[in-house]
Each structure stands twice: as structure tokens, then as C-alpha cells.
Amino acid sequence: MEHIVIIGNGISGITAARHIRKLSDKKITVISAESEYFFSRTALMYVYMGHMTFSHTQPYENWFWTKNNITLKKAYVQAVDTDNKTLHFSDDSPLRYDKLIIASGSKPNKFGWPGEHLKGVQGLYSKPDLELLEINAPNNKICKRAVIVGGGLIGIELAEMLSSRQIPVTFLVRESSFWNNVLPENDSQLVTEHIKNHHIDLRLSSNLKEIKSDDHGKVKSIVIEETGEEIPCNFVGLTAGVSPNINFLKSSKINTNKGVVVNRFLETNIEDVYAIGDCAEQLEPIGNRRSIEAVWYTGRMMGEVIAQTICIQKMPYQPSHWFNSAKFFDIEYQTYGWVNNEKNKPECESHFHWKDKDHLKCITIAYNKNTNAFLGINAFGIRLRHETFETWLNEGRDVDYVINHLEEANFDPEFSKTYHPKIQNAYNRQLQHEL
């Protein structure tokens, strides 16, 4: 029986395993050094905040794996010998595979800041990171102030987590407004304002110069590059993005760049070795997508596709329209299609923006100003229906159509206030203004 070995039990690896099991009775082994069972990484924050216990983050009960004949192995892969199709572990006998799927995920970026290895300095990505956070910042007696470096999605989640335990947070963000390297200015402003309303000491256009140590090798303070200001703190969260977790492949013959290089079929340069999820780097980016997509959804999709390739027929990874979501404190964010920020948007991309007077809801719709074609939407504080936007994007609807049919796409709970009339009015006023 063919033996499929999957390195990594995150959403990519587990989706692959589940779908391979659905489609075949091949032997499946999933290896992870991080945790015994699959858990939802995106839910780690809720464990720290006391919304859930760790066991709630596990989508399948423990019996599920035996019942579906998926072998779980808790071990750290030290080397991959593709010539002999063998994996080597730090403290276990080697394992033979017939097909190997690498789904080893990401690790937090560190940029060689002075003091980045001090006690009390950490990233937030894995289960061990969460456990470390519980030691470094259990409450505001032990952690009187926390500094977060890096204004991305993990940074703002960490800020929310720490403030749920009333720990004062200083948030260093390189950009001039929160996440405006991705979001258009107006959207970014809304989130920036919301962060400040949650009493976060937000420092924009600020970089980390160094982390200073006390006499016991523990963080004492940080220094801001631009102003030279020194901020005393007991904890530093490094959340300046993630990169593929592939150090264990360096000695192998598998071709790597930033990530494991794969073609559209998620195949590496070595036969019978595939890579999916955060650690995979597309040889050629697909459409507007980045060559490395460190997103929950794309990891899952690659897992779905690779199972087809391994069990049925060779399938390219060909995702449909881009979508994503996040939550910034109390504001939910959903996006469908492409809405570029000012710096990245092509000349023909125009934006319509509407903001509610409470400054907790807004939308930005991107369209082609020459053809009026709808390109994408960012929604903050308003839930939208994925299926409707997938359909509209497939049908190539124009921006007028989308604005006039926004009600159909609403996904807010029943009896919620509706915003589409206000949005339509604002849109019509803007049109008249332009005429």
C-alpha cells in the first residue's frame, strides 16, 4: 500500500490527509513536532483571552484519527533524504515514504534586532508561543507594559489579547497608518482610529532600534529608531510577518527559495514530493496573488487540490477569486476580489468609499474606471455573502450593479440595521459630483 507522509498537522496538511482518506485507503502518516492533534492556529488568541480552552481549538475529537486510520506522529523531522525516500528524526528511527507532502507552515520573522533573543521577547504563531506568552505576560502585575513590533494581522491580535488582561500596550507600526501597506488609506484610517479607541498606545511610522536587557537577560525596555525614545516594558511581541518554516530542508535536494518552490501542480523539483500551504512558493505567482500565500484559506484549498492529484488525477492549484477575512478588535473585516492600496493599485483602478457616522463600519469598492467593471470590495463591520460576490465576479458585473444589488449580498444577522440605502445615496451623490 502506498504510504503518504505529510509533514505538518496544520490546516493544509490535515485537509490533505482528510481528503486523501476520503478518496482512497492509502496509508497516511501526519508528522508534527508542535502538537499531538490538529488545532486551529487562528483560535490560539481566544485561549489566552479566556473565550475558549485549548481543547476547543481542536476541530476533531481525538478518536477521529484512529477511526479514519490516519497515523499521527509527534516528532521533529531533521532531514529529508529524497534519494532513499526517507525522513530522519532527531530521536526516532527513520521513516520511509512513497509520496511526501511538505506542509510545515511558517515561523515569525526576526530581523536581527539587537536583543531579539532576550527573555520576554517572542513571536506569536505556534502553540509553544502561546504557552510562552502565558509565562511572559500572564497579567498586568508581572507584565506592566508590553510592546508589539509590527503592524500586521498578528500584531493587532496580540494587542487585543494583551489588553483583554488589562496589560498596557505600545504598538510600533512601521507604516504611517495601520496596515496601509495592504489597505487603502480610508479603510486603514478607520482601523487606526479603532485601535486608539481601545487605549492602545499606537506609534505610527515607528521602527524598533533595539531591545535592552536588564541584569538577568530579560527585556527591560525598547528604543524607537526615529525618535530615540526609550520605552520601559516587560514584554516584546515580534509580529513583523512570517516566513516559510523550511530550515529542515536546507540539506535536502528539494529546491527552496524563500519557501519550497513548487509548480502549479504543487510539485517540487523532486518526483513524489509536494509542498502546500504557507511553506509553498509558487514558481510563477497566480494572477494578482503573492507567490507565498500565508493564509488559512489558501492552505486549505491546496490541501483539497493535492488530494485529487495524489488519488485521482493531476490537478493544478487554480484558486477562484481572492477572498479573506480578519477581525480588528470589534470590527470584522471581509474582502472579496482585489482592492489595492494607493501604492499598489494600477492606474485604471478607482475606489468608491463609504463610512458610517459611528466610524465602525465602512466599505471600499474597487472598479475599473475605464470599463466600470467591479474589481473587489473591502467591508468593515458589515458581513457580506461570499457566494454572491463569487457569482458577481464570475459574471463580470459592473460597479453600478454591485451597488444597486448590495442588499442581496448582505450577511448581517436578522434585524440588523441595513446600510445599503445609505451606501447607494453616497454613491449617487459622488456620481453627480463627478459629472
Binding site: I11, S40, T42, A43, Y46, V47, M49, G50, H51, M52, T53, F54, S55, H56, T57, Q58, P59, E61, E131, E134, P138, N139, K141, I142, S164, R165, Q166, H198, W296, Y297, R300, M301, E304, V305, P316, Y317, Q318, P319, S320, H321, F323, S325, K327, F329, D330, E332, Q334, R383, L384, R385, H386, E387, E390, N394, F411, D412, P413, E414, F415, S416
Partner: protein, 533 residues
């Protein structure tokens, strides 16, 4: 290392701020109100009962209101679940267990030893706690209080003040606010005030109305067809008759129509008193329900057993009632049995004929239910007399049901165990009404919880906060709609979802149950390929 263990053993509590001064004062006020009740319970003499009762209830109410204001109004609108699993009361900690033991004890005394609450036995006047409520009872219905009046008053008060707290907690979500206002209204009006006024009518000789909460339907209201209830209603003129007809209509007409249009939530989380208490007082305990598959199995067996028991018990009670009074009614006891059997057979055949593929494995449960009931009807037909059914007295069957299901299950376990098993133990494992409505919701209703394409991140907030123990995430992460008979449509899964994935909807029956191989957002051709297969 287990994170959970570390937290619960940590001396430095994550919730380091504790209670604010306002909250402490409010807590003190509420406890003072309870203290008056307690003193009354220990037979302390109060010169002016009306004054002290008012004082006590006002203290409890204002204490809770001030506490809730201090808890939520200074925070931004949004999900307020910080620290739920760190707090002793809401995570089966010491406080949780103490509360559970206290509540259970209260229910045992209430149901089985009301004399300890001060109920006047054999013509004696009330004393203690129950006597304290005499002035209010006399004001409303003209009679001294009973243990049920005390319980009803406190129950209603609890729904009102904790309903207020719930509305503040979810003040960003109008669905939550509206349904809470609804349960508060139905509890105060239908379950509390109207029955009290009805019993005032009984002062006239023309009326002999039994206690009747109009919104409480059979089989939840299992005593509707007891002889005292039927006799009472039938001897109360047109009003009594109208109420009996309304009771029958609400089971066979009103409830099926509403459940078809809105799902069982119209009842369970908008109207029902048990649901009302669970959603308000019980809200801090919703995360304690078990999501294990094994719990789901127990749930299905238990709730079907109770349903079958209640159907057989009711039919037997009506049968013996008709048998005893053969000349009073046009319906003979044997004809009634035949009619019930035919109706059930018709229902069962229709379901199996049209819905068997939707029912799948659950068809087995339905079939077993059906055959047990039919078998019982047959035995009843052959051996039953007005004095003896199933070799026992009909009244013993009825009192066994009242004792084990009505008191022990719905009261002592259903509410007493809130802090241990979650706030919907009765609704999930025991309520026969929930079973009937759930059956219809699963097979013939426009209601579902829609999953938003591929947006689920499997975080598990929905499953954690589902009071009915449904593993909502298991569906959401597959892009499947949630169509479950147990879902009471409280809408909390949708509220706590951080990514806007879940929406309660009433829409067309077609495509309501959608099993997906691959989620929306992936290769369109691949999805097509698999759908065609």
C-alpha cells in the same frame, strides 16, 4: 504543558482587576435583597411583609441592573467573552459547583418539601418565605401565596433582570435584543400575570379555571389533558372552552405553521419560559454543554424516550378519562385510541414516504418511536380499563411522569445543573416539546443556519458557545449549512463568529441541506467536477 492547567493553578489571576467599586456596591445591594428572603426563610418576623418584600425585590433588581451597567456600558460594543474560562463560576470551578449544589437543593425543597419554605399545610396559614409573598399574591389573585407563586415571582424577576443584563451584553446585535425582549414579555405576561388574573376570575362561581400558561403547549404542558385540567376548563363556560380549543390548535395548527416558517426558534428562544430562563440567567453557562459525539448519542436516545413516554402517558390519561365518563362525550375511549393510532400511522407514513432520504440514519429513531407507541396503544386497547392500564393505575403513570420528567428532569437537573452541564440540559436532553418541534425543523422548515462559503477558520467559537452542544464548526468548516433538530436558533454562534460566517435564515427548502466536497473559493472546475460526480 497544558495551558488550561496552568491557568487554573495560577495564583496570579489573569482577571487581575476583579470588581470595580460600583460593582461591589451593586453586588452588596443584590445580596442584601437575597438576605431579606433568607431571613424570611428562617422565620424572622417582619412587621410589614409588603414593605419588606418590595424592599427585597427592588434591591435584587437594582443591584443586578447597576452591576450590569458597570460591567458593559463603559466598554465598546462587541463580544464580551473575555475571561469566561478563567472565572470560577463559568468554568465549573468552586463557585460553579457551589451554585449548582445550592440551586439543586432549592429545587428539591421547592418540589418535595415546600413546608420548609413555609407553606401552610392542612389549612394553616403560611409562614416563612412563602408568607412574605402573601401580600403580592393577594394583590394579584386574591389568595395567599403558594410555593409556586413564590417560584413564579422569582423566576419572572430573574428573567427580567438577567434579560436586561443580556441585552446590554449583546447591545451590538438586534436579533439578540429583540428575542430577549420577547421572552421577557411572554414570561411576565403569559406565564405570570395572565394566569394570576385568571385565578382571580375563579372567585366567581362561573369559573373554575386551572393554572394555564397559554404559551405552554402540550407535551411541555403535560398536565393540559389531566382530568382536573380538562374538567376545570370545560366547567368555565366559553372562556374555558376557548382555552382548551386554543391549546389543541396551538399543538396541531399554530405550532406547525410557525415552525415551518421560522424553525423551532420561534418557540424555544422567543417564547418559551424554560428557554427564557436558560437564555438570560443561564447565559453565563452556555459554554459548558458537551460537544462530544457521545453526548449527541445520549441526547437522541434520552429525548426520544421522554417524547414516547409523554405521548403514551397523555394518551393513557385521556383514555382512562374517557373510559370513566363514557356518557359525557361523543368520543369513546376505544375510538380515541383508534384515532390516535391512525393519526400517528398517517404521520409516520407521510414522513417515510417523502422524507426518508433526508432523514437517513435518523429514520431508525423515528421508526422505533412509532412502533413503541403503536404497541402501547394496542396493549391499551386490549387490556386497558378505566381502573388499570399497563397493569397499573393511570394516575400512577401520570404521577411517575410528573415526578421523573416534570420535576426531577426539568427542574432539579434542568436548572439546578446549569453551572455544571450548561444552561439547556432540559431543552436538549429532555423536553418532549423540543423533540416534536425539532423533528419538524429537521424535515419541514425553511429555517437553517447558512454557512458563508469558504470563510470559516475553524476557530471553534461557535461550537464552544452553542448551548445545545451542537458542533457548529463541524458543518461551517465544510461549508455546509446547519440543519439540526436540536438547534433552538438562539443565534449566539452567529454573534460570536469572528469572521462573519454564520447567519440564521428562513429561506426556500431547496438546497437547504448542502453537502460540499470542496469549499467555495477553490478551483471552479474542480467544484463542478465533484458536484457532477
Amino acid at each position: 504543558m497544558s495551558t488550561e492547567k496552568q491557568i487554573s493553578m495560577s495564583l496570579a489571576k489573569p482577571e487581575s482587576t476583579g470588581l470595580s467599586l460600583t460593582q461591589k456596591v451593586a453586588l452588596g445591594l443584590g445580596l442584601a435583597g437575597l438576605f431579606i428572603l433568607m431571613l424570611a426563610g428562617f422565620n424572622t418576623y417582619f412587621p410589614n411583609k409588603g414593605l419588606f418584600l418590595t424592599l427585597s425585590l427592588v434591591c435584587i433588581a437594582t443591584g443586578t441592573i447597576i452591576f450590569s451597567n458597570a460591567l458593559y456600558l463603559n466598554k465598546s460594543k462587541g463580544i464580551k467573552n473575555d475571561g469566561v474560562w478563567f472565572k470560577s463560576i463559568s468554568s465549573r470551578g468552586t463557585l460553579g459547583w457551589i451554585t449548582g449544589v445550592f440551586l439543586t437543593g432549592f429545587y428539591i425543597i421547592l418540589y418535595f418539601y415546600p413546608e420548609y419554605l413555609g407553606l401552610g399545610i392542612s389549612g394553616n396559614s403560611n409562614s416563612g418565605l412563602i408568607a412574605l409573598f402573601d401580600p403580592l399574591s393577594k394583590l394579584l389573585n386574591g389568595n395567599p401565596a403558594s410555593q409556586w407563586f413564590v417560584y413564579g415571582t422569582l423566576y419572572t424577576l430573574a428573567i427580567l433582570i438577567f434579560g436586561y443584563k443580556f441585552i446590554l451584553k449583546y447591545r451590538h446585535n438586534r436579533y439578540q435584543q429583540l428575542r430577549t425582549i420577547s421572552v421577557m414579555f411572554f414570561q411576565l405576561g403569559f406565564a405570570f400575570l395572565i394566569p394570576e388574573f385568571m385565578s382571580r376570575l375563579n372567585q366567581s362561581t362561573e369559573y373554575n379555571l386551572p393554572y394555564y400558561d397559554l404559551k405552554s403547549m402540550w407535551p411541555l404542558n403535560y398536565y393540559l389533558f389531566d382530568s382536573w385540567s380538562v374538567n376545570g376548563l370545560l366547567s368555565s363556560g366559553n372562556l374555558g372552552l376557548a382555552m382548551l380549543i386554543f391549546g389543541i390548535l396551538s399543538i396541531f395548527v399554530i405550532s406547525p405553521i410557525l415552525t415551518y416558517k421560522y424553525g423551532k426558534r420561534w418557540y424555544c428562544s422567543w417564547v418559551c419560559g424554560c428557554g427564557g430562563l436558560a437564555e438570560t440567567v443561564g447565559d453565563p453557562f452556555r459554554q459548558l454543554s458537551s460537544k462530544k459525539q457521545s453526548a449527541w448519542k445520549i441526547e437522541r436516545w434520552l429525548i426520544h424516550t421522554v417524547l414516547v413516554f409523554s405521548v403514551i402517558m397523555t394518551i393513557a390519561v385521556i383514555y382512562s378519562y374517557l373510559d370513566k365518563n363514557p356518557s359525557n362525550y361523543w368520543l369513546s375511549s376505544k375510538a380515541f385510541l383508534m384515532g390516535s393510532g391512525l393519526l400517528l400511522t398517517l404521520l409516520f407514513s407521510v414522513v417515510i414516504l417523502f422524507k426518508r432520504h433526508e432523514l437517513g440514519k435518523d429514520a431508525r429513531y423515528g421508526a422505533i418511536d412509532y412502533f413503541i407507541i403503536i404497541l402501547s396503544l394496542f396493549i391499551l386497547y386490549v387490556t386497558g380499563t378505566s381502573e388499570q392500564i399497563f397493569l397499573i393505575k393511570p394516575s400512577s403513570l401520570r404521577s411517575a411522569y410528573g415526578f421523573y420528567i416534570g420535576s426531577i428532569f426539568s427542574g432539579v437537573i434542568g436548572t439546578g445543573f446549569y453551572p455544571i452541564l450548561g444552561n439547556r440540559v432540559w431543552c436538549r436532553f429532555g423536553c418532549p416539546m423540543a423533540a416534536v418541534l425539532g423533528f419538524q425543523q429537521r424535515l419541514f422548515s425553511k429555517f437553517r443556519i447558512t454557512t458563508n462559503g469558504g470563510q470559516c477558520i475553524s476557530c471553534g467559537n461557535c461550537s464552544t458557545y452553542c448551548e445545545m452542544g451542537i458542533d457548529v464548526r463541524a458543518y461551517a468548516q465544510k461549508g455546509e449549512n446547519i440543519v439540526r433538530s436540536s438547534c433552538v436558533g438562539c443565534g449566539i454562534c452567529s454573534a460570536v463568529c469572528p469572521r462573519g460566517v454564520l447567519k440564521l435564515e428562513n429561506s426556500s427548502m431547496k438546497g437547504r441541506i448542502n453537502a460540499n466536497e470542496i469549499l467555495l473559493g477553490n478551483d471552479v472546475n474542480l467544484i463542478d467536477l465533484l458536484t457532477k460526480k
